[in-house]
Symmetry: C2
Subunit: 481 residues, 2 copies
């Protein structure tokens, strides 16, 4: 036999006796992997994901959101200059003629583009969809290059902090509902951060770079962040120290009040606006009964360019798995903020629509739930089949086909074995393995007598049912279980 | 005021008073469109799509399918040489370092790649997902460059035609269930087509080109197709005429029997295999009660390279809209076939897994259902909100927020107006417009007496309910409606 590498086109096809197309259409290389940083979801994973997404979407609907869907790719210029330092992670499509396109990087920018394009001034929408980022994949942390986001946003000119408070309420409802263990939502305001930089003496040209350094405080110590500011970003040491006094603070509403009294910060108009809004926000959060879940954290900066006001990020405080397990480091599981300037960037006249929203990092939540299920050895059904149509008899395919069509037509979820002469034991084992609750068994004797045996897989009890009553009896049993 | 074109970065940001980031991060161009050939789905369209997809997926689950999800892009080589003449329509990603990637063109090739990669020998799976093709968009016909496919496939070595018959049953169930009017499923077999070409004297090198011509018979007359074969593809006129005798035939199982008797075709081994399978298929379709929906159509060719046996395509026979309406030309709404050689192309040793499947062209079905709804002026709710929390009073935001949090926490879908002092009439109008069935009204008097007014939007009846009983009463009313 010749080596595979020497076989070409038709020869290979003939050898394997399967392909019919002419030489050009036959592929000889063996390709058998998905691309790096992406993954297939197995049936088990699809079931877990569906349960989590159902729960998330039902919360969004509970808060009156409408669904929206946008294309996977946008015009390249739509995504340009929205994501700051992370813009290099955008996937571009190849120029094959026509427009220059990029895969969407989040669901927020397409939403803003939709609002501007359709001149929508007010909308509460949710969107569940995939986004793509060319990140170095550290898959252990639940980070992929393709991942699912669940977004909820409120667009429109309203009285301050009411929609913002609802966004935080939604985050609490979802994180509680998914039983991921204790969590905390860090809150800050971009205007307060800018105010801090201003009163500490950061030159305006360095705001962005210094903000990026502050953003690292969840992973690095203040000492290391300070070093970066001074050594790498050329900030004067005393300015860095002043910043340090602020950004190491976190607390509840009392910290908001304390900052109002701060002799330097209280001189800054932007910071005062931010503090005023946070004070109001905490009032509403108290009415919602979630204030104790929220921490005013001056180190929270958020990476994206488009935020203009309140920002927030939810972190899990403990992993729900067994104590002896490695804790799964999942970082933040939900985040968001106010972006009042983004819609205007897509409007020819710059008309703005104020927006606030949140994004649930479901991919990380999938990892946690999957690990929890592994730990507890939970088994999940990957099909919903209710009835299996079996026979102990040879040459009974015709009877089985007629019977299963009746079940399908009655809306009953049913399967059979695609064999002319399957063994009864094989058929019953299949039901046990797949968790199928009922089996109908048809044989020569039953056919003569006009009955079918209905068997419960769990109890192994069998009863004879007349053919006419079978569908009704199955429906009765299923509605009872 | 300077012209927009003269404003740069920060200046523009300052002018519009919204953006906080340094100059580089500010975009001045007004971009406000999605890319050509794609579209956003509005909330109305999302609701319609969800209903259709729910119905399709529940049929797939009724037949015991497991869910599977694969990434939006695959390694470029995975898609190479699978789609024949249409390969030019594949979207490639830009080479930004790393692997060469392409957006998936269908859900079948990723499924085959998954089976080979995971050495899965047997699987019944469904997959609902977007695929991308660089087609000249003729949007009126419901053709887009991004569109949703719903696939069901059965992989594994089974007795002949049982899974194939189930695929046709599924197509019938879905098309009947969606009430799209009368439909017909054309069936043919690639081996019969090849047999016809062989016995008519087509040189093997021209099989592919002639097959493509035959594929056009649903849009072109035989005269024009014949002309293409002879003038453009260099086929001898008498050979074309012999082909014409065959491919203009269509009928039921009797045509299968007739072809068995055909003096030329009955000499061809491949054709005989195909005819034998079709005969068996029609037996099973009769048992399923759907034989009268199926037409053996020798002109059916299907574009894709990977089919090796039975192929099929469902077409609507009439549009369900009003008689005076323009009929919507939607072409085929579902299609599929057997592809026994595809998995082997991804397996290093060429091991094959026989497969058969179908794809529902839901995008076209969306168009039909949307048009039908327009015609009948059907209104659909885009939110599921059950209760609106209103007040006739000024400065009652705190009470409303406390109350709505109670409702949300009880799982009730509720909304309020994001205003400190909304007008009662505005609030009630909103409920009527949005189809929200219940309103709870809280005012000073009610607060004093410890009651809430519960109003039915339809009947405009109001009753006072004590605060403690409100959630229970709402739940009772909602469960009754």
């Amino acid at each position: 036999m010749p080596q595979l590498g020497l076989l070409h086109g038709r020869a290979w096809a003939v050898l394997f006796g399967q392909l019919r197309r002419p030489p050009g259409a036959v592929c000889i290389r063996a390709v058998h992997s998905h691309s790096q940083g992406t993954r297939d979801l197995s049936p088990q994973q699809v079931v877990v994901r569906e349960k989590i997404l159902d729960m998330v979407v039902s919360c969004f609907k509970r808060h009156g959101a409408k669904g929206l869907d946008t294309p996977a790719f946008e015009l390249k210029e739509t995504l340009t200059e929205k994501y700051g330092e992370d813009s290099g992670l955008i996937y571009d499509l190849k120029d094959q003629g026509g427009e220059l396109l990029s895969l969407r990087y989040d669901l927020t920018v397409p939403f803003a583009r939709y609002l501007a394009m359709n001149k929508v001034k007010k909308m509460k929408r949710y969107h569940v969809g995939k986004v793509w980022r060319r990140e170095s994949p550290t898959i252990a942390q639940g980070r992929y290059r393709e991942f699912c986001q669940c977004d909820f946003d409120i667009a429109g000119q309203f009285d301050p902090m009411i929609p913002d408070a609802e966004c935080l309420k939604i985050m609490c409802e979802i994180l509680s509902g998914l039983q991921l263990g204790d969590f905390l939502i860090k809150v800050n305001d971009r205007r307060i951060l800018d105010g801090i930089f201003a009163v500490c003496g950061v030159p305006e040209s360095k705001f962005h770079a210094i903000c990026s350094s502050v953003d690292k405080l969840d992973k690095m110590s203040w000492k290391d962040v300070r070093h970066e500011m001074v050594a790498k970003k050329g900030l004067a040491a005393e300015i860095a120290d002043r910043i340090g006094d602020y950004v190491q603070c976190h607390g509840g509403v009392s910290l908001v009040k304390q900052m109002f009294q701060d002799p330097r910060l209280s001189q800054n108009k932007q910071a005062l606006e931010g503090l005023g809004d946070l004070k109001l926000l905490f009032e509403y959060l108290t009415l919602f009964g979630i204030a104790e879940k929220i921490s005013f954290d001056l180190s929270l900066a958020r990476g994206l360019d488009y935020y203009t006001g309140v920002i927030y990020e939810a972190v899990l405080l403990q992993t729900p798995a067994h104590a002896e397990e490695e804790p799964l480091n999942v970082g933040s599981v939900a985040a968001g903020g106010r972006y009042d300037g983004l819609v205007g960037m897509f409007d020819p006249k710059g008309h703005n629509v104020p927006c606030v929203g949140l994004s649930i990092g479901v991919e990380r939540i999938f990892s946690i739930v999957e690990q929890r299920m592994k730990t507890f050895g939970e088994k999940i059904r990957t099909t919903e089949t209710q009835v299996f149509v079996a026979t102990p008899q040879k040459n009974f395919l015709q009877e089985r086909l007629k019977l299963i069509a009746e079940l399908w037509d009655a809306g009953i979820k049913a399967e059979l074995m695609y064999k002319n002469n399957p063994k009864l034991l094989t058929q019953l084992h299949y039901c046990e393995n797949m968790g199928i609750p009922l089996v109908v068994i048809i044989g020569e004797q039953e056919l003569k007598e006009g009955v079918i045996m209905l068997r419960s897989v769990a109890s192994r009890e069998e009863v004879a049912i007349t053919r006419e009553n079978l569908v009704a009896e199955i429906q009765k049993r299923l509605s009872e279980s």
